[in-house]
């Protein structure tokens, strides 16, 4: 800062403060190595995660297609056999998940769809992990949320304290540089580091646009991270202004970082799971089973639970024997019972998802206590890699499941003769007769899971955005108070 006086008058004083800060960093081995490591780390995480997610997207799309083809290639069969043969659905990741994969590795990505059952998504990648990424992972989101603030601290902790320790602050103020100019200049210098760190992320953002993500969402995504890092810039300036010594500022800032970025996120999820416990699927399944038993077994057309259905069909077609019905009664039973069963299953599934969402939202409330939590939620919600998106995947696959099962049941009702059907177990001939043409398997429509619309995603993240804005505004206010206070004390 000693060469402040040499600054030419033509450039604004703020820029000259920023320039001097950069000059100081260039001479500091620490600042330069942190900056270099920071940019390299972000760059490599963007590349590695990007490649990984694009591969996953292709892989899952390919598996989706092959699953559909296998289904349609099945030979002539009894339609109910196809209900049990089942179908697969895969969750393709959102384009922005190459910046924030979110829950992708923690939930299963494929789901087996079959009659009479709602399976859970299976084979979460985390289950085949080395256990080494329990503390942190290489995703750009993690780097930006946790490591970038640390880099900013390492580079900027002494912004003001340095001037105080070397007695240059009073000198600067006496010369007419206002505290505001000084802070703005130093802030601008730190912000340029933020821009440097964000650069590789922005490039990946462009790539996401190419992949079909909306430009608005990508800009918003980049904006929220910039705002988050700006919040840290403010916090760094604040500590540096409040405290007298470099070492104090450093200790205070690293302590705050440990609390907000390392401890708080885990405290949030632990608290949420203690405060809002969610019963496991296994446990709610008992209640489901109890309800299902009341419905009767759809495989057994003689189950008394279906007497009402039988009577209404008799009335409709004016017959008094199932054999005389123009439709296959067993198919009608299968279809009716699937309908009822899905209602029960969905009721419980919805309840479970609601509970899980309530639990997640409780954890998100901790964004008021740590900006890291605010930006983490906001990032996942914007990218479309949060629990909400997974829930929608579960809902959509359930629709897909019910559709194909009911389409098969319709075939069962309309195309398979009742007498052939009940004689299916009577030797080879009966077995061969009780089937329908493979043409009927063409009911499978291509399933492609897409991200929520930009409006929905941005709206979901609204409260997290408010939290983040709260942090930045609060810190800006505190900084302005602290700077006035310091200016009063430092000037003679």
């Amino acid at each position: 800062m000693s060469n402040q006086t040499k600054a030419s008058l033509s450039i604004s004083p703020v820029l000259s403060v920023a320039k001097d800060e950069w000059r100081y960093w260039f001479r500091s081995k620490l600042a330069m190595s942190v900056l270099l490591i920071g940019v390299l780390l972000t760059l490599s995480s963007v590349v590695v995660t990007g490649i990984n997610m694009i591969e996953l997207a292709h892989e899952r799309a390919a598996m989706q297609n092959s699953s559909e083809d296998t289904f349609m290639d099945q030979p002539d069969r009894h339609p109910h056999r196809m209900v049990h043969y089942g179908h697969y659905a895969f969750r393709t990741p959102a384009p922005l998940s190459m910046l924030d994969p979110g829950v992708d590795a923690y939930t299963g990505n494929s789901i087996f769809l079959e009659g009479h059952r709602q399976n859970s998504a299976m084979f979460a990648e985390q289950k085949q992990s080395t256990g080494l990424t329990k503390m942190g992972n290489l995703s750009p989101a993690f780097i930006l949320q946790v490591l970038a603030p640390l880099m900013l601290i390492l580079i900027g902790y002494s912004a003001i304290t340095r001037e105080r320790e070397s007695q240059t602050l009073a000198f600067l103020l006496a010369q007419g540089t206002s505290m505001f100019t000084l802070l703005t200049g130093k802030g601008l210098a730190l912000f340029s580091i933020v821009i440097l760190i964000m650069l590789p992320v922005a490039i990946a953002g462009l790539f996401a646009i190419v992949q079909g993500e909306s430009t608005l969402v990508v800009l918003y995504f980049l904006f929220t991270y910039t705002l988050y890092l700006l919040t840290w810039t403010l916090a760094i300036l604040l500590c540096s202004t409040l405290l007298a010594k470099n070492s104090e500022s450093f200790t205070a800032l690293s302590f705050i970082w440990i609390l907000l970025c390392i401890a708080m996120p885990r405290i949030a999820s632990t608290s949420a799971s203690v405060v809002v416990p969610v019963a496991g699927k296994l446990e709610t399944d008992f209640a489901v089973l109890a309800d299902l038993r009341k419905l009767g077994d759809g495989h057994n057309a003689n189950d008394p639970a279906f007497n009402k259905l039988k009577q209404s069909l008799f009335d409709k077609y004016e017959v008094d024997k199932v054999e005389d019905l123009p439709i296959n009664f067993r198919g009608a039973v299968a279809s009716a019972s699937e309908e009822e069963l899905s209602k029960v299953l969905n009721r419980f599934a919805e309840k479970r998802m609601e509970e899980e969402l309530a639990q997640t939202e409780t954890a998100r409330l901790f964004g008021w206590l740590s900006p890291q939590i605010a930006v983490r939620s906001l990032s996942m919600l914007t990218a479309g890699s949060s629990i909400e998106t997974h829930h929608r995947f579960l809902r959509e696959t359930e629709t897909l499941r019910l559709d194909f099962v009911q389409a098969l049941n319709k075939t069962h009702i309309e195309q398979l003769n009742y007498i052939d059907d009940i004689n299916r177990n009577n030797g080879e001939e009966g077995w061969a007769k009780a089937r329908v043409s493979a043409e009927n398997w063409k009911i499978i429509e291509g399933f492609k899971f897409t991200t929520d619309s930009p409006a929905v995603r941005i709206e979901r993240g609204f409260s997290s955005l408010i939290q983040l804005l709260f942090w930045s505004v609060m810190l800006a206010l505190l900084l302005s108070l602290a700077s006035k206070n310091l200016a009063r004390r430092a000037s003679f």
Binding site: L30, V48, M63, P75, Y85, G102, V103, Y106, G108, S110, F112, N119, S120, M122, F123, A124, Q126, K127, Q128, S129, T130, G131, L132, T133, K134, M135, G136, L147, L150, L154, S158, N246, S247, F250, T251, S254, I258, L259, I262, A263, P265, R266, I267, S269, T270, S273, V274, P277, V278, G280, K281, L282, E283, F286, L289, S386, I387, H390, N425, G427
Partner: protein
């Protein structure tokens, strides 16, 4: 020695007057207490869940057993609970129990279709990770120690007291040694007191408590030595702390992440989905195959039932369960390869952990608490052997005997019965590692 105790007493009083040290210690105590308290509550809720499940499972099974009389339907409609109970140390190391399932209900159908069902917890919370005692020690305690020890000499240097102190103190060790001992002791107490209380409540084995104490102590010494060593000559406390935090980032994040990438590249695993596909194709195809094809494949692995009773027309349960089993047999190689890959990945991670003390500590703790991936693999094996016991129980009635008497259901294998035997096995495993 007396002189040293005097130094200790002086340093203790000195420490209590330093506000910033006190704040750090209080925070450490609060964090550790929170982690331990929530750990105890998590473990107790897991235990309660298991108790509730056992009860519901029993009721449900009895209901199903009352409804059906033939062995085929009984095997089809009765589910069986299996679970892996948290150990008495699990409160301190919740480990992988939020990613791997620890409870299942299975029946006698093809197991490959059932075993990967997971009753996982909230994915978004699992992604953020939970705080437990192991995390507090492995990840947070080094930071605490860095903040406490990095400025031992730098602080005195900058305030100009360094040379004076060094010349007045008879031996360097008295001055720095006493200060180090006092702070280390304070950290140890603040972090481990909550653990001891919870361990006492949870009935944790003395050997485990002693082992955990030893590991923690060694770990603290390690970080203290690094902190003091890096800071020994520098006069700039922030520079020392920056270097130390960089080392921490390297150990906690960078090395494990690089190791993870390398292992993922090195170990190839079949896709989980493929196991299911193969198994499904085999089971579904069986409906259209001649009964003999399935039975031959079945008998090849189960020669005891070579003389199975032949039923000519229509559906028969023996054939049905045989093709379920043949489905498993078809997928067995894939499934084994999948399990092996998981195991290999976890084993390779041990080498990475050698380079990263925090990872090493975490692995040691979760192994001792039996809450790591190995415990999850072991549980999967237990389910497989339980499924085999179930099949062994029903097979004679399905393939050989004719007069099924429902009274034999009282001999139905129960996952619970195996518990003691499995516990012993786990102990052997722990000792080996």
């Amino acid at each position: 020695m007396v002189a040293f105790t005097k130094h200790i007493a002086r340093e203790w009083r000195f420490m209590l007057r330093q506000r910033y040290v006190l704040i750090l210690l209080v925070c450490a105590f609060i964090l550790s207490s929170f982690a331990v308290f929530t750990g105890v509550s998590e473990v107790s809720s897991q235990r309660q869940t298991i108790e509730r499940l056992k009860l519901a499972d029993e009721t449900d099974r009895l209901e199903a057993q009352a409804k059906y009389d033939d062995p085929g339907s009984l095997a089809y409609y009765t589910f069986h609970l299996s679970y892996s109970e948290p150990s008495n140390l699990a409160f301190a190391a919740l480990g992988e129990r939020d990613t791997y399932p620890w409870k299942h209900r299975i029946r006698m159908l093809a197991l490959e279709g059932q075993i990967y069902e997971s009753d996982a917890q909230n994915a978004e919370l699992a992604q953020a990770g939970k705080i437990d005692f192991t995390f507090v020690i492995a990840a947070l305690s080094p930071l605490l120690l860095i903040l406490l020890f990095h400025d031992l000499s730098a602080n005195e240097r900058t305030s100009g007291r360094h040379d004076l102190l060094v010349t007045t103190a008879k031996m360097k060790i008295h001055l720095w040694g006493a200060r180090i001992v006092v702070r280390l002791l304070a950290v140890f107490l603040c972090l481990l007191l909550p653990f001891y209380v919870a361990a006492f409540i949870s009935d944790t084995a003395w050997s485990s408590i002693a082992l955990v104490s030893l590991w923690c102590f060694a770990y603290f010494i390690f970080w203290t030595l690094i902190s003091v060593y890096v800071g020994r000559k520098s006069s700039s406390a922030p520079r020392v702390a920056s270097a130390l935090i960089a080392i921490w980032v390297l150990f906690v994040f960078i090395l494990p992440i690089l190791g993870d990438l390398a292992i993922k590249q090195a170990v190839h695993s079949p896709k989980g989905g493929d196991i299911l596909m193969v198994q499904r194709e085999a089971v579904n195809a069986a409906w259209d195959l001649p009964v003999e094809t399935t039975m031959d494949a079945f008998v090849a692995k189960h020669p005891k039932y070579a003389n199975y009773k032949k039923e000519h027309e229509g559906f028969n349960w023996g054939w049905y369960y045989a093709f379920q089993q043949v489905g498993d047999q078809t997928a067995a190689n894939l499934s084994q390869a999948y399990a092996d890959a998981s195991q290999r990945k976890y084993d390779f991670a041990a080498y990475v952990a050698m380079l990263s003390p925090p990872m090493l500590l975490q692995r040691k703790m979760t192994r001792l608490a039996n809450s790591d991936a190995i415990a999850a693999f072991q549980y999967e094996k237990e389910i497989r052997s339980f499924h085999a016991e179930l099949r062994e129980f029903y097979y004679p009635w399905l393939f050989l005997e004719n007069d099924f008497d429902k009274a034999v259901l009282s001999d139905l294998p129960n996952f619970n019965n195996n518990e003691n035997q499995h516990k012993k096995q786990n102990k052997v495993d722990t000792n080996e590692r």
